[in-house]
Symmetry: C2
Subunit: 199 residues, 2 copies
């Protein structure tokens, strides 16, 4: 016995999401069928339609926005000297939520990953270099993820920029708040040790 | 800084799903934005639209179908004597997948739960009793979930049917395949003990 085609199609759609297997996709699909009202479905469809129509990368920094330039890039009160470089648009939101950074951003939209065939030309490095021609920018803060791809990307950018007048810095990595040393993975532990300071 | 309205709306839609918190909803939303092509979005929207338009409960057993009567109810080769009673349409799929049952089904569309204000009249018990007037049906197999609600529902049905000529049976509950005794919850353990057989 097979699912009716419409249910099958919906399950397949949900299975495309990261970390969603068949069981979870079925749960989601049946939740839609059993619990979503007409207006919930329409709202969901509208949201899907709208993100594809309205959401584009900011023409300056690459952060996702429904404007031509994102909120940060349009805000002249932000410190134009600093550019924090992240892999993804979502990372901008994470940093913004802390309210502890007042500079600009640059979204690479990925990270260098030779094994996935993603080279420097596949992410927004050229756009970063173009922006950096403007002398108002003085510091580039590398904030890649702590992963092989993040490391490779940071190293690549550091090499590109080290002979310029720009200050290139990198955010600190180490044991997170509430982190238990015995559960820390090797890379976190390595960074925690490398980054140790005199007590 | 807030998400653009369209992203916000999409995140809110995803947060309505069971077990999906803000972080997961954000991950899904950004996955749509970054990885879904135009046709993926359209396919997703179409599936949402279609399930609401096409999928209805089978007029006989209540199983979700895009026909008037579901595949099982239309299949005369199925054993008309047995009706397996389940809480949800999804449960029918689970049993069908085993290919070990050739009778009919009845989907209650829920279970009795006084604490949630769900009484016998809120689930498809009346429809079951109507079906059972047809004497071709001889056995009612109760296959509720092993939960307080499932127990209550099974007990209720058993009381309703025990003075009829129908054979009322209940599926076995106990330690699952691969189940570790020390991880079993109380109810599973209780059922495993109650259901013990002479070795």
């Amino acid at each position: 016995m097979k699912y009716p085609e419409a249910i099958h199609q919906l399950i397949e759609s949900f299975m495309r999401f990261p970390g969603v297997g068949k069981k979870t996709a079925e749960r989601y699909a049946f939740y839609v069928i059993n619990h979503f009202q007409e207006e919930d479905i329409l709202g969901f469809m509208e949201a899907l339609h709208r993100v594809k129509e309205e959401i584009k990368p900011c023409t300056v920094c690459g952060h996702l926005t429904d404007q031509e330039r994102c909120d940060v890039c349009r805000d002249d009160s932000r410190d134009q000297r600093k550019i924090l470089v992240v892999e993804e648009s979502k990372d901008v939101m994470v940093v913004e939520r802390t309210k502890m950074y007042d500079g600009l951003y640059h979204v690479l939209n990925g990270a260098i990953s030779p094994s996935d065939g993603i080279g420097p030309e596949d992410i927004r490095i050229k756009e970063l270099l173009n922006r950096l021609k403007d002398e108002k920018h003085q510091e580039v803060i590398l904030a890649m993820n702590l992963s092989d791809e993040g490391e490779t990307t940071a190293m690549y950018l550091h090499r590109l920029l080290k002979d310029t007048d720009l200050l290139v810095t990198r955010i600190a990595y180490g044991l997170p708040a509430g982190g238990n040393l015995s559960y820390a993975d090797d890379m976190t532990l390595l960074k925690a040790l490398e980054g140790r300071k005199k007590y």
